[in-house]
Amino acid sequence: MAGLELLSDQGYRLDGRKAAELRKVQARMGVFAQADGSAYLEQGNTKALAVVYGPHEMRGSRSRALHDRAVINCQYSMATFSTAERKRRPHGDRKSTEMSLHLKQTFEAAVMTQLFPRSQIDIYVKILQSDGGNYSVCVNAATLAVINAGIPMRDYVCACTVGFVDETPLADLCYAEESGGVSSLALALLPRGGQIALLQMDARLHQDHLESLIEAAMTACKGVSKVLDEVVRQHLQEASVLTRE
């Protein structure tokens, strides 16, 4: 019956982080030459690969095209080897469809789609290893990929999950924490303006705590955005050094 103690009295979490500390984020941009943009991002042990094609002409049915802006097409998938137990994951199952939809909504809010009427942008994200916070890792990876593709965005979209334990918000949950019965909230933020691109929460939470939880999530997102910004700058520097030669 002894459940895990998610936050010890001294303020340590299961993996040794403090409540507001993020997992270690590592990222690389431009990992595939064939795609227009691509990025690989590790957040702790959750690893994701994002690939962006476009903007290009509408493929498939042309009737879906919008006359004033681009259509964003997202596809989320998990590798069969991404979890502890190998599991075949067919395309189009409920979970990944939902996740694709969430990603689409997020990026529709961030990408300046009105610049590309009657065209399409494809974002493919694959989780290579899953250890909690899949959605937010996907968003962060896709942001880098979109930037890599040179598609104009209003701002970085940074996402982070937060949980609520013992009246304390925990930033960036890992799988053990997510499955340990924490009410978790996922938030995607455009950090400069502080606009929320997406906010999702399925668990029960007292209304009084919501504000502090969102506050914590926003701080965490801003932390992520700093890391992403650094990655982008470093990538640019490398790229410019290469082109100069």
């Binding site: 103690e5 010890s8 040794g16 042990n45 137990e85 009246e167 890992c174």
Partner: protein
């Protein structure tokens, strides 16, 4: 922060092994919590002192098995590692919480070091390394880190039970010693006998466990996941197991609020289906098929003697189940008695295992392995249960502490305290150091800075207190005056400002919080606060300047409607310290001597006296009005010592002391209730989600049925629809011939009530705030902060509420809803324990009182009793003279029944008993007799001595006529007081005797005489007999025969 990966192999739910990778972050700055730290660790909270010879780091295994030894307060400088913590956590939540409490407790000198998160003390588990070895290595690494971190200033001792580790590590580092726990205790703490005994008793219990044979006695418990799933699906019922007090062998019930709200619960019949659950455990039960359901037994049984009655005399069957698993053990410390040798020898000749019998009948016998069995015969000992394997009929335990020989007063009182989980040690040095000083050399005076901040009522108000005579801790005072030319009245209640002296989080505060209340036993009390506060600085003594928290109402002089309320901190000087009798005498206009006025000349005395009497009269007038208001709402007046003390604002729970129902009592109580009510409103408005209030839930209707039935027998109807109807019908139910009838009915009504409880407003909907007994929508406790911790909390809340009002930055209330609810639960349980302890201590004294008396001769042992309930084989009676309730049997063990002779005297004869709804009749060869409800009978009180449990009073009927004693009727409470004094005196005498004894034995040794009676003394006795007159001799013969 550096990220590493930790690879675990876990079992998945389907039983497959899964490789799980978890992140693990380590960092360099992990606080060490030592005051010697030179690296500037952010140590907040408890730190280890620097004046120790060494720090001790226990290994995970030591923490797992010997946590109790480490709990000994004398062991200082203990560093628990996170590794050990995690190991304990996987053993069970209960153990882990114990460690957490230990770490939080400022009185224990121990800290937690998060060794696994420190870069240099973290060692990843190697391939093929066993968990135990890895844990030991981790702990050792932590010990080495500590040594280096403190720059070698402090020696570190690591204790482990692993012999290999001792040899492997001991010579690696110079400042880090690795030894076993046994050696550690012997080398470093040779004086600490208690810890060593504890160690040996635990290790013996562990060895026994290993050597256990494997014959199954009980079915295995189901695993936790299965139970959880079963409870969710409704297959199993979850609830806490309550063992019946009178039929502990067979009957136990599961109380579950949600499922069986109408029913009394689920019956668990027999020890097999109870399956190793112990009273108080949280269990899951499975219902048996309906054909196997059993009924509850309503017949009176004599202790645990005759079980055969259960089979035939059951009434309607109720849901019956069996325990399939235990969700949470709720084991506490138990008091057991070691049986005398002749019994124990037959059980266990070659092993040292003893079956000790718990004091509480609801607990099964506990098997204890000890080498001190001979010494501990007939002693009461505190034990803890270690485990109960399915192979064993009894649980295994180990002894912790010896209380003393059974039957002695001190032992019995300690037993009561332990059984109710009351731990009261004297206040420690550190706590007393926090206290302000008030002695003759250094008088405590009012701080001028405080005078600035407080409203000064010393000159403007006439403040006085009314308390029982000889009361030391005066925590409430009253004042009343008229304002605006008599158009307004100002009523004031001034409560001692305890929170000024006890700041939150201080040692005194923590101690008070754990005690939660002052414990009143029959002959002593254990204060919640140190004496310097409770009877001096916080006590609002007459003529002394004191800080107070005041509530002042402005009332309209005519309608007595409240126009304004003021709350705040004040400075008062009580002018009169009255007692109830004196105040009543003044009110009645009788001549009374007010001690405060004795020294004044007659003229001034007259003026002062009229002033005081005027104030008292106004007060009474206001109180009557308030009472009438509440009566309209349906406030109850209940009888019964317990509830009375809890409902009203009587101070010294000398509530054992008689309360001649004076009107002044009511007046004071009414004012206090009013103050409590207004404070409750105030704090609830200020903190809607985290205010501490007190609620009294309405009673369950079915619990009233005995009351209604009994009343019907006496010809009254009781309406229990709501509190108003109940109060009215109780008022009507008065028998003009027998005043006791009403009292009994009120007592039964009290029994049907549920307890009033503290709660936090955030965790209950608003419609449950109602106080049923007082008929108020919101109520709290505010007026006795000296003896109740709840009042201290309420004082703090009120202070915070006032600060908010004054526009201070939104002051955070001290604690959130969750903490407050936890605290409320704690206070409730402590209050319950205090009540139980008080009740059982009175019981002990009653027994000791009657034990000294010969029931056949002493007139004290014969008393009048009134029947208030009928059972299958007897009746329940109330003895007004001693305030005792108990069963009187109509049948004895040989199947004989009570027969009534022509003169009313009763004797045993063979016959039969029949029970009817309102009377019970016995038929025997000399006719039949019946006993009705509310009949007065004469009973004889004797004591049944049972070595292992509390003694019980035995009531035996000797006549069906009311007993008319020659002695004038005394009120029972006076008798009680007498009784307590008498017993204390006897105990003291016994002690003196014991002190004399060693002297005698010394003489004996000198003259080398044997202690058994020798021929000389025998002859001496014969000579004395010869000198006595014949009458005396015959008397002696009669008594010895």
């Amino acid at each position: 922060m550096i990220k590493t990966d930790k690879i675990l192999h876990l079992k998945s739910c389907r039983g497959r092994k899964v490789r799980v990778v978890r992140e693990h972050y380590v960092r360099e700055r992990v606080p060490c919590f030592s005051s010697l730290c030179q690296a500037g660790c952010p140590n907040d909270g408890k730190v280890l002192p620097e004046d120790l010879t060494h720090y001790v780091v226990p290994d995970a295994e030591v923490v797992l098995n010997f946590l109790e030894v480490l709990e000994v307060r004398e062991l200082q400088g203990v560093v628990f590692t996170r590794t050990a913590c995690q190991a304990l956590h996987s053993k069970g939540r209960r153990y882990y919480n114990r460690l957490r409490n230990l770490l939080k407790d400022p009185r224990h000198d121990c800290v937690l070091f998060a060794n696994e998160f420190q870069t240099y003390s973290y060692c990843p588990r190697e391939k093929g390394e066993s968990q135990e070895a890895w844990q030991t290595r981790c702990v050792y690494a932590a010990a080495v880190w500590y040594y280096n971190h403190l720059a070698g200033v402090m020696n570190i001792v690591m204790i482990t039970e692993d012999k290999n580790a001792v040899t492997q590590f001991s010579s690696l580092n110079s400042g880090v010693f690795v030894i076993s726990l046994e050696d550690y205790l012997q080398d470093f703490w040779p004086d600490l006998k208690a810890a060593q005994d504890l160690y040996s008793s635990i290790s013996q219990a562990l060895q026994e466990k290993e050597a256990e044979d494997s014959q199954r006695e009980f079915p295995e418990h189901l695993p936790a996941e299965v139970l959880e799933a079963g409870i969710k699906s409704g297959r199993y019922i979850q609830g806490s197991l309550k063992v019946s007090k009178h039929r502990a062998q067979n009957e136990a019930f599961i109380n579950n609020d949600s499922l069986f709200s109408k029913n009394t619960g689920v019956l668990v019949f027999g020890s097999k289906s109870r399956n190793r659950a112990i009273h108080g455990d949280l269990v899951a039960v499975e219902l048996l098929p309906k054909s196997e359901w059993k009924g509850k037994v309503t017949a009176l049984t004599e202790g645990q003697v005759d079980e055969k009655m259960g089979e035939d005399s059951k009434d309607k069957p109720m849901p019956t189940g069996r325990v399939v698993g235990i969700l949470q053990r709720n084991w506490r410390d138990y008091v057991v008695t070691f049986p005398s040798r002749d019994k124990s020898q037959s059980q266990s000749r070659n092993s040292q295992r003893i079956l000790a019998i718990p004091w509480d009948r609801r607990i099964p016998k506990i098997r204890i392995s000890t080498q001190q069995a001979d010494v501990l015969q007939d002693h009461r000992v505190v034990v803890r249960i270690d485990s109960w394997e399915s192979t064993s009929l009894y649980p295994n335990g180990h002894s912790v502490r010896v209380l003393g020989r059974a039957g002695e007063l001190e032992t019995e009182v300690q037993t009561i305290l332990t059984e109710n989980c009351i731990h009261v040690s004297p206040f420690s040095e550190a706590q007393l150091r926090e206290m302000p000083v008030n002695s003759t050399e250094k008088l405590w005076t009012v701080d001028p800075a405080q005078v600035e901040k407080r409203r000064d009522l010393r000159e403007s108000h006439l403040v006085f207190s009314i308390d029982p005579q000889g009361c030391e801790d005066v925590d409430d005072t009253l004042s009343v005056r008229s304002l605006a030319d008599g158009k307004l009245l100002e009523l004031g209640v001034h409560i001692a400002d305890v929170t000024h002296f006890v700041s939150e989080g201080s040692l005194t505060d923590l101690e008070a919080r754990t005690r939660a209340t002052t414990y009143y036993l029959a002959d002593r009390r254990y204060d919640m606060l140190p004496a310097v506060l409770s009877s001096d600085l916080c006590s609002l003594l007459g003529g002394a300047d004191r800080y107070a928290m005041s509530v002042l109402w402005e009332l309209d002089a005519q309608t007595l409607a409240v126009t304004k309320v003021w709350f705040g901190r004040t400075l008062i000087r009580s002018s009169y310290q009255l007692h109830y009798e004196l105040a009543q005498a003044l009110l009645n206009g009788e001549e009374a001597e007010v001690p405060e006025l004795a020294r004044l000349d007659s003229e001034e005395r007259g003026i002062r006296l009229t002033e005081l009497i005027k104030a008292l009269e106004t007060l009474t007038h206001v109180a009557r009005h308030l009472r009438a208001q509440r009566d309209q709402g349906g406030a109850l007046e209940l009888e019964g010592v317990e509830v009375r003390a809890q409902l009203d604002e009587e101070r010294n729970i000398t509530a054992l002391v008689p309360r001649q129902p004076l009107e002044v009592h009511e007046t004071v109580a009414e004012c206090m209730i009013y103050a409590n009510h207004w404070v409750a409103r105030k704090i609830q408005e200020a903190f809607p989600y985290q205010a501490l209030l007190r609620r009294h839930p309405p009673p369950r209707q079915e619990l009233f049925s005995p009351l209604v039935d009994t009343a019907k027998a006496a010809g009254f109807t009781i309406d229990t629809r709501n509190n108003k109807a109940l109060a009215d019908s109780l008022d009507r139910a008065v028998d003009p011939q027998d005043g006791l009838v009403n009292r009994l009915l009120r007592m039964m009504a009290t029994q049907a009530m549920s307890q009033a409880l503290y709660f936090s407003t955030g965790s209950h909907p608003e419609d449950q705030f109602y106080h049923y007994g007082l008929a108020l929508d919101r109520y709290t406790h505010f007026t006795s902060p000296i003896r109740r911790y709840a009042d201290i909390v309420v004082h703090r809340l009120l202070t915070a509420a006032l600060a908010v009002e004054e526009g201070a930055e939104l002051v955070k209330p001290q604690s959130g809803n969750k903490e407050l609810e936890e605290l409320a639960g704690h206070i409730n349980s402590r209050n319950k324990a205090a009540l139980l302890a008080q009740k059982s201590s009175v019981g002990v004294f009653q027994c000791l009182f009657f034990k000294e008396r010969d029931p056949q001769k002493d007139p004290c042992c014969v008393a009048d009793a009134i029947i208030y309930s009928i059972r299958d084989n007897g009746v329940l009676v109330f003895v007004p003279k001693y305030g005792v309730k108990g069963p009187v049997y109509m049948t004895n063990r040989d199947g004989q029944v009570v027969a009534v002779g022509s003169d009313g005297s009763c004797e045993w004869q063979s016959g039969s008993v029949r029970r009817y709804s309102d009377y019970i009749s016995t038929t025997s060869c000399c006719g039949s007799a019946s006993f009705r409800l509310f009949d007065h009978i004469t009973i004889r009180i004797s004591v049944t001595t049972i070595n292992c449990h509390a003694d019980t009073l035995n009531l035996q009927i000797i006549s069906n006529k009311p007993h008319c004693s020659a002695a004038p009727q005394q009120s029972f409470s006076q008798n009680r007081n007498q009784m307590v004094q008498e017993v204390v005196r006897l105990a003291e005498e016994a002690q003196e005797k014991a002190a004399l004894k060693p002297k005698l034995s010394k003489e004996e040794r000198e003259f080398r005489q044997s202690r058994s009676p020798n021929l000389y003394s025998l002859l001496e006795e014969v000579r004395e007999l010869a000198l006595m007159d014949l009458e005396a001799v015959s008397q002696i013969c009669a008594t010895t025969a």
